[in-house]
Amino acid sequence: MSTATQPASQLVMPAKHYLNDNYGIRSWLLTKDHKRIAVLYLFSITFFFFVGGLFAAMIRLELLTPAGDLFTSDTYNKLFTMHGINMIFFFLIPSVPAVLGNFLVPLMIGAKDLAFPKINLLSWYIFIVGALFSLATMVTGGVDTGWTFYTPLSSGFVKTHVILMAVGILTAGFSSIFTGLNFIVTVHRMRAPGLTWGRLPLFIWANYAASLIMILGTPVLAITLILLALERGFHIGIFDPKLGGDPVLFQHMFWFYSHPAVYIMILPGMGVISEIVTCFSRKRVFGYSFVAFSSIAIAVFGFVVWAHHMFVAGISTYSAMVFSLLSFAVAIPSAVKVFNWTATMYKGSVSFETPMLYAFGFIGLFTIGGLTGLFLASLGLDIHIHDTYFVIAHFHYVMVGGMVMAYLGGLHFWWPKITGRMYPEGWAKLAALITFIGFNLTFFPQFILGYMGMPRRYHAYPEEFQVLNVLSTAGASILAVGFILPLIYFLYSMRFGEIAGPNPWQATGLEWETSSPPPTHNFEETPIVTEEPYHYGADREVTVVP
């Protein structure tokens, strides 16, 4: 066990690791190895990211001109619906948990695999089945109700394939439930000796909290979509006012899941940021317990704010006041995290590798997105900005400026661990910069547009909004470049990238104490944990596994 890193020229790929342990399509499609399953997810969700991106491109093209001249309004409705559905259910929700979580959770806790490897594989297959339903819907005409499926539009009026899509989404939901179930049991029951809850990496805390939301919220979406399908299929009146139903009930049930869903999306990203910030500041996370518990707080609070999506839907004013107050409260734990990350960097030794660039992007953009959420949570203000581009800008700031950046940062950070090779740093930095610029140019104008009153989901708009829309579309084209570049250089690096070695970042964490890529069984010997997490310091020994 040497106490210094080996020079780069001496780094070699381990002879046997999880990628070359077994060859052939069957060894991949029937794998029970969590790392291979993570890679399967990586390819699947990348595909859907670009499908969703294609729809976004078409939306932005239409919005270049005030007239609705590129697509009919029905087609435009389908574009934004499919954009939303693909991005949310088939990209964002699985992203960090199914790719990075699946790969890293067992490694970070010193386990050989997740608690239920077969269920993990089943979860991927269920995702694929759901995705196939979604693709089938797309090629047979799509859905045009918006990703929110409000009734009675979706249950009685439209002629598009609502039921097919609903089945696809609810199937993908079960995939999410199984992933969450696996993580919860694994973290409770399979930690290495010495790894107490207080020594867990914050990435684990974040994914654990997201998993709680997955298992408690997604089933409600399932039953809501089932009821929607029943109503649409059999013309019964559960949500249709013509038949005695209450359309607001659909919204209650839908948002009971879909609001916590946004925390399913963002929490794992926050976990990634915690890991990156501490590593590239060479300093332990400031206020570890606060950050850890804030993840749980977000998960719990996230369940009691859902009706802030319904302030103008006809709910009682008293109830709206309660939800507004709670929505202000849910911002607090997120703010706690931002303060703690900043405090971690203070007096740290900060370096600017690509993962850290994405982390900086996240912290700034998520803060803006989060603050604008408070605007929306404020009852009086929401009356004016609900259903405008302000909302769109808000959630894209947190989801793209926040979550996608976190996902990319995490991919870059753990890429050497997953593939054994480094990505080209120069290109990566360039892509990060392009993404940041493109993102802001795309979405900042949308805050202004929304504030000025441009409604969402409209393909034609008044002349005076054109300049901002053109800026936004220009930004989108730049953002597209920022997203395509990593696709290219990541693929390139798999074959030609520099060999990374077990710990290219000199980071703490059990995952860095095994080879890159790791062996199928993760560790040669079950590690025993004796130190605090993020024990950065001059006296730290770096273990190199040959």
């Binding site: 067992p106 386990a111 050989k112 695999d113 997740l114 608690a115 239920f116 490897p117 439930i177 179930l181 696996n182 919860i184 049991v185 694994t186 409770h188 029951r189 399979m190 298992i215 408690l216 919220g217 997604t218 089933p219 409600v220 399932a222 039953i223 809501t224 089932i226 009821l227 029943l230 299929g233 059999f234 013309h235 019964i236 009146g237 559960i238 038949l243 005695g244 139903g245 209450d246 009930l249 049930m253 009971f256 069984h521 560790f523 040669e524 010997e525 079950t526």
Partner: protein, 258 residues
């Protein structure tokens, strides 16, 4: 390349590679089943929430609907399901104690009781079909609770009539009878979801029966039986709530709308 810490423990054939000991495996699997049941609580919970809201909104319609389903069968079915929970618990006991024949007997009894339950439900569903109480106009004979179900028998499925005999004025009775469609939507959705879970449970029990027959379960390894038991008891608990909520809404025959 042995990485098993507990080198003194014999490697039980059912020990999966990611676990170190049978104890750890058992605890993880059972906890996993409980987490899964948590998801089921929330799924049925969504339905129950919607049910509560509509019961509050359309109370008299719910009374009308509830009085048109046969409470005796509901009561009998509740006893059947509770019985099947007993036999399931006995099956777990038998597995824990390595009694192969008793495992098989109790599992078989549980399945028989489960099938009996579903048989009664099928009969009840048929009755509702016959009385034109299946909601919507797509399956069944088309919903009709105001006497138009059977031309030759104006009393068939006639909830309006029923309500009038409980002193509800005729016009209101007709309207409430039409509103019972929403009660039946929930009746079918809730009992349907429950029955689906029972069907899946029966399938899993059959698989368990085969494994028990092969002698796979004993004191060191009976977790699958325990976990299927947990699932079965959960399905029983759902019915324990469904029975009063669906069958016993104002059953005392007294007048409503005084």
């Amino acid at each position: 390349m042995s990485h098993n810490l507990a080198t003194t423990e014999e490697h039980h054939p059912a020990l999966a590679h990611q676990f170190d000991t049978m104890d750890q495996q058992r605890e993880a699997s059972t906890f996993g089943m409980w987490v899964f049941l948590l998801t089921e609580i929330m799924m049925f919970g969504g339905l129950f929430t919607a049910y509560l809201i509509y019961r509050h909104k359309y109370y008299t319609a719910f009374v009308g609907g509830s009085s048109s389903i046969d409470v005796t069968w509901g009561f009998a079915n509740t006893l059947v399901l509770i019985g099947s929970s007993l036999t399931m618990a006995m099956a777990v006991w038998a597995a824990q104690n390595g009694k192969r024949r008793q495992q098989m007997i109790y599992l078989a009894l549980t399945m028989i009781l489960g099938v009996a339950f579903l048989g009664v439900k099928a009969k009840e569903y048929y009755e509702k079909y016959d009385e034109c109480h299946i909601p919507g106009q797509v399956i069944g004979k088309g919903f009709n609770a105001t006497g138009g179900c059977d031309a030759g028998d104006p009393k068939k499925g006639n909830i309006a009539d029923d309500l009038e005999s409980r002193n509800v004025p005729p016009a209101a009775a007709a309207q409430i009878a039409r509103q019972t469609e929403i009660f039946f939507s929930f009746y079918f959705a809730m009992t349907g979801l429950h029955a689906t879970h029972m069907l899946i449970g029966l399938g899993v029990l059959a698989w368990l029966f085969l494994r028990a027959k092969r002698g796979e379960f004993g004191p060191e390894y009976y977790t699958p039986v325990e976990n299927v038991g947990l699932y079965w008891h959960f399905v029983d608990i759902v019915w324990i709530y469904l029975f009063p909520l669906l069958y016993l809404i104002s059953r005392n025959g007294h007048e409503i709308f005084s």
